[in-house]
């Protein structure tokens, strides 16, 4: 086992899965000759040829639409959207076709495609390189969504997404692409979709997060005197409700942390599930720490927008003092 970065593990997963299954192909803007703007697809074109690591025209809806047809021809396309906010044109195909086509065929055809993209802020980038668009994807019926927070999960969840028979959207925390390192098994490594990860066990309060907010929660836990449990949701759909409810049954106090704007964000869904299924376990209101309902800001003030360790610590103190 070697200490490896998230983006290295995404690249490794793609190499392993393309070698394992001749039907898997990668397509996207600059994925081939350049190896991706973040180098996530580096080396694939040389190793597997330009047809299986295909530089597409600059057309996000066209990429995903073509991927639907490729599935019908027996391929398993892995589509890269270059950045979170550049994925919005592909929502047309995602909502009108990707999430519906299997249903439309009476369950007779499969659309085993993957849409993967770097997401999130904190990287001092221009506008629309910083969004957390997971809600749009989770809200779309027929589509699964997973967001890794560690190098091992980046590899394992992407492998699971590629092998899954349903369409899966994978959001990758670009802030930690190269800054977060960890041990990862070599060769084939699959982390099943739909299983949360207990990042840290504790008794007093549960911090629920995914992706780039997991390290923020872990840092907050370090600062607090309370015994803090950190639950990494990992897959937003299908959701591991059992793990969520088990943690809350133990601690009775919950803070949910999400980088995306607050209204109708995924934290609201988690809070609603707790209201429906864990009301008697709760010792305090469920609090959310989220981005604000504003356009993602200029990067000189983005740190004020991003849920910070200080904001999470503050929220934990409030639920513990309730």
């Amino acid at each position: 086992m070697a200490e490896r970065s998230i983006v290295e593990e995404i690249n490794d997963a793609l190499h392993v899965e393309l070698a394992r299954d001749d039907a898997v192909m990668v397509m996207g803007e600059d994925v081939g000759r350049a190896g991706g703007v973040f180098r996530a697809t580096a080396g694939l074109r040389d190793r597997f040829g330009p047809d299986r690591c295909f530089d597409t025209p600059l057309a996000e809806a066209g990429i995903l639409g073509a991927a639907v047809g490729l599935c019908m021809a027996g391929w398993r396309p892995v589509c890269e959207m270059q950045y979170d906010a550049f994925s919005y044109p592909c929502l047309d195909q995602l909502i009108t076709h990707v999430g519906r086509y299997r249903w439309r065929t009476g369950g007779t055809m499969q659309f085993p495609l993957v849409v993967r993209m770097p997401y999130g802020g904190g990287v001092r980038a221009p506008e629309l390189h910083d969004d957390s668009p997971e809600t749009y994807y989770v809200h779309t019926p027929g589509v699964k969504v997973t967001i890794p927070s560690t190098p091992a999960d980046a590899k394992g969840l992407l492998a699971a997404a590629i092998r899954d028979s349903d369409p899966v959207v994978v959001l990758e925390p670009k802030l930690h692409y190269r800054t977060l390192r960890g041990d990862v098994p070599g060769g084939e490594h699959v982390v099943p979709l739909g299983k949360a990860r207990l990042a840290r066990a504790g008794d007093d309060v549960t911090l629920v997060a995914y992706g780039s907010m997991v390290p923020v929660c872990e840092a907050a836990a370090d600062e607090l005197d309370a015994s803090v449990e950190v639950l990494d949701i990992r897959t937003l759909k299908p959701l591991d409700e059992e793990a969520l409810l088990a943690s809350v049954a133990k601690t009775g106090r919950v803070v949910i942390v999400q980088e995306a704007p607050r209204v109708c964000g995924f934290a609201a869904e988690l809070a609603a599930i707790l209201a429906e299924k864990a009301i008697l376990d709760l010792q305090a209101p469920v609090l959310r720490v989220t981005g604000y309902d504003v356009p993602y800001p200029y990067w000189q003030i983005e740190d004020a927008y991003m849920p910070s360790v200080a904001r999470v610590v503050d929220a934990v103190r409030r639920v513990c003092e309730f």
Partner: protein, 355 residues
């Protein structure tokens, strides 16, 4: 490579005027093939006319009429092989009938019943695309994917003049151009997108002119001339099969019926033009052509119409005999592995429904 005929007067035709002047004959089409084409057109015409009646009787829901579009659909499909894929819009809802799909299936689709769902692989006919033009990239992807696998099959995608304004048309056409996908882009230019006339849709001289921008040939044919459509599609198919990539076909016609059963075009359409176009509607033109060749006569035409009418009677009876859809189907089919919450949702629903 790219070439476009300049104006409407240059529309390709095979069928001449009612007196036979201008009639041509196509190589490779014998009497049997010509009559098969006629049967297909009559089947589609009968489907369409009966569907309008069924709608008025409350037996199917809102229906998109395709009267006078049969030549485009039948002419193009007859130029394909069975392994080739068809991507229909709602205007081609019954095109699967030409691949052996039972009328009951399409009628069930318009009845909003799950028996109207089909497996595209059974007929190589994709699901009906309701949003405009978003299936163009699907067809490009399938055609490209077949080519990458070394398979012979190609794809044809049907869309209207309005679809050429959509981004997905552009992205799909460009994708096909770049990948040299074996694709036929078949534009049914009936001059109207509900109430929006062609001149409000584009200032391009022709829709076929758009092909130049994608590096593919654009051809224009008379969309009410089934043999011209067949010939142009056959050439596009040959080109694709040779590995020379996609072709854009603009089939020019005129919408003589409402957009759909919920539409009343009298407030916007040129009613005199409609009456003129009805006089040269596609089935009548082909009927006259076959009679001039001595291939078709009253008795044969009547038996073909009776056969189609019988298929529709059996089709609507079968569609209406379908048992009511099971609400449990709400949770079926969307996922191969559905989320666990579907189980409790279904339990709750059945408890409330008393199931």
């Amino acid at each position: 490579m790219a070439q476009v005929l300049p104006a409407e007067r240059d529309l390709r035709r095979v069928i001449g005027d009612a007196d036979g002047s201008g009639d041509r004959e196509l190589e490779g089409l014998g009497e049997q093939e010509l009559l098969d084409l006629y049967r297909s057109m009559v089947l589609l015409r009968t489907y369409d006319e009966r569907s309008l009646v069924y709608h008025r009787q409350g037996r199917i829901g809102t229906y998109a009429i395709f009267w006078n579009h049969e030549a485009m659909q039948a002419g193009a499909v007859h130029a394909l092989e069975d392994d080739d894929w068809i991507f229909p819009s709602y205007r081609e809802s019954a095109i699967g009938l030409l691949r052996g799909m039972p009328p009951a299936t399409v009628l069930s689709w318009w009845r909003g019943h799950p028996a109207g769902w089909w497996n595209p692989e059974d007929y190589n006919v994709a699901s009906i695309c309701v949003p405009i033009g978003t299936h163009v990239p699907h067809a490009a992807g399938l055609a490209w994917g077949k080519k990458l696998k070394g398979e012979r099959a190609l794809a044809i995608v049907f869309f209207g003049d309005g679809a050429t304004s959509e981004g997905s048309f552009h992205e799909g056409a460009n994708f096909a151009g770049v990948t040299r996908a074996p694709l036929v882009l078949f534009c049914n230019n009936n001059h109207w997108a509900i109430s929006t006339p062609l001149e409000a849709q584009t200032r391009a001289e022709t829709l076929a002119a758009k092909a130049v921008g994608y590096g593919m040939p654009g051809v224009r044919v008379d969309g009410t001339d089934v043999l011209a459509v067949y010939e142009a599609t056959r050439e596009a198919v040959d080109r694709a099969r040779r590995g020379d990539g996609p072709t854009f076909i603009e089939a020019v016609t005129y919408r003589t019926a409402p957009h759909a059963t919920a539409d009343d075009p009298r407030s916007y359409i040129d009613l005199e033009r409609v009456e003129e176009e009805k006089k040269r509607e596609c089935l009548g033109r082909y009927d006259g052509y076959l009679r001039r060749l001595g291939i078709l006569h009253d008795e044969l035409a009547e038996s073909i119409r009776a056969e189609a009418a019988g298929a529709m009677r059996a089709g609507i009876a079968a569609a209406e005999a379908e048992p009511p859809a099971d609400p449990a189907l709400l949770f079926a089919h969307a996922y191969v592995d559905p989320p666990a919450t579907f189980g409790s949702d279904l339990d709750d629903l059945q408890r409330v429904l008393g199931g």
